[in-house]
Amino acid sequence: MTWIGDNTALIWEQLREHLYLALVPMLLGLLISIPLGYVATRFSWLANPLVALGGVLYSLPSIALFIVLPAILGTQVLSSVNIIVALTIYAVSLLIRNVIDGLRSVPEDVLQAAVSVGYGTLRRVVTIDLPIAVPVIFAGLRVVTVANISMVSVGAIIGIGGLGELFTTGFQQDFLTPIVVGVVLSLALALVADILLVGLQRVLTPWARVISPVKEA
């Protein structure tokens, strides 16, 4: 326990880094997969290849990706950019399916009504299509967030891994406490992030919780 007291600053630093390395790719993944998903619903022949490509990319082992990326990107091996790019690739490959499914879940008559009352395309996508797609997109976002939080630790192998670095410290020193702290904090982080996402979704979709038809007046 004294180890924890002696290393609070380090633990906080790793936690902060872990959060950063997990959340930035999640946000980037969202920013990339939304326009990509929209294009795939406009040109529907693109949807299946994109989802399939996502599946292939997601099956790449993360360690391999962390190691190969510096060569491709020309970054330093110890740069956090590698982790962020790798996790963004995973995020996009998972989210693309949900964004496409979510945009497709917008009922045809709603789309037709939106166009007919005079929405321009961009305004329609932002204020009609995406809000209606939120429940489906958030289902994917929750998976991505939890997966990212667990995968950041793998980065410790190449020296940047947030809480994962507590694991390497523990293994190197044959000392259990940092490993336990790392595991507990990773789990807690995943749990808190998931709860926050569920809360955010509830705030964003008050309409999705009201299914109680009123009798004909």
Partner: protein
């Protein structure tokens, strides 16, 4: 006035949805496009707000070609109601109604006031304003759809089978409310339906279209029933067009008989029933002097004693008519 001049819609695969359609849709009246599926009625309607672009020909609104401006601006000036209402599920009722004013950038206060006023106008309880569409019945949703279409006070309203997904009783209510509303607002309404009864009930003019997008006949309903232009129109109108034609004939100047002694009346002169062996038999449907011949006919047909009772606005019995007398009027 909306005018179609030789308008054709052909899809890339060669299907002709609308074939050289020419017609004039008069302002401030209800014009109904009716026909079987595949007759191009919805396509014709959607070419007016350019959600479908025509292949050739010209469509003008008050003389101006609709392709002169930007389609989004055009659409904001034309109300639009569809089957199942197409309400935005993530917006409250009042926000749904406020859609077009918001797009047009009206100030918030005016937008909300207008939306609330419209909800009232289409017969919705204002308590529903903050609900979401999923919390409303089909009929209520359709009323919200009409309110949304009217929010920015457009001159034209397009309605694409708006009442076909609700049950018959609600449909009838909605039809009657549309007619009542139209008496107040006098919009140029183009209404699409596959139901000829709905077309005849609502339309000031009815355009009957046949499969392949050709106009078969364009006429007021009474004219359509009296003189169908060909076999297609005649069969589409249905078997009982003679009876339905009576809807458009006024029941004034009928040879009413005086009130018979066996018709029991209350103190206000309203009919209670027919006296038969110490019992009262219900009078059935009654009709008014200014009503339709169809109502008079219905009154005779539903009467247990073969006599229809004519009542004035206050419900006071003013006379009766029987089969023989009515038949004399119906004889051409």
């Amino acid at each position: 006035m909306i005018e179609f001049e030789d308008v054709t819609k052909q899809y890339p695969d060669g299907t002709v949805a609308v074939d050289e359609l020419s017609l004039r849709i008069p302002s401030n009246e209800i014009t109904v496009f009716v026909g079987p599926s595949g007759c191009g009625k919805t396509t014709s309607l959607r070419m007016i707000n350019r959600t479908i672009e025509r292949s050739s020909g010209r469509i003008t609104i008050d003389g101006e070609d609709i392709t002169a401006g930007d389609p989004v601006t055009l659409r904001r000036g034309i109300g639009y109601v569809i089957q199942h209402a197409g309400l935005f599920p993530h917006k409250t009722v009042v926000d749904n109604v406020a859609t077009v004013p918001k797009l047009l950038g009206w100030d918030k206060k005016k937008t909300r006031a207008t939306a609330m006023e419209l909800l009232e106008r289409v017969g919705l309880d204002l308590k529903l304003a903050e609900r979401y569409p999923a919390q409303l019945s089909g009929g209520q949703q359709q009323r919200v759809g009409v309110a949304r279409a009217l929010a920015a006070d457009p001159k034209i309203m397009l309605m694409d089978e708006p009442f076909s997904a609700v049950d018959p009783i609600v449909r009838q209510q909605l039809q009657e409310e549309l007619l009542r509303l139209q008496r107040d607002i006098g919009k140029t309404i183009v209404f699409v339906t596959h139901d000829i009864d709905e077309a005849i009930k609502l339309g000031d003019n009815v355009a009957v279209l046949r499969v392949g997008g050709k106009l078969a006949q364009f006429a007021p309903p009474a004219e359509l029933l009296a003189n169908p232009t060909d076999d297609f129109v005649e069969s589409f109108i249905g078997q009982d067009r003679g009876y339905r034609k009576l809807t458009f004939l006024k029941a004034d100047n009928l040879p009413l008989a005086g009130l018979p002694a066996d018709l029991s009346l209350d103190d206000d002169g309203q009919p209670l029933g027919w006296k038969r062996g110490g019992e009262l038999i219900p009078v059935g449907a009654t009709f008014k002097p200014g009503g339709s011949l169809r109502a008079a006919m219905d009154s005779v047909l539903t009467s247990a004693v073969g006599q229809g009772v004519c009542v004035d606005e206050a419900g006071k019995a003013v006379g009766v008519i029987d089969y023989t007398a009515l038949a004399g009027v119906l004889r051409p």
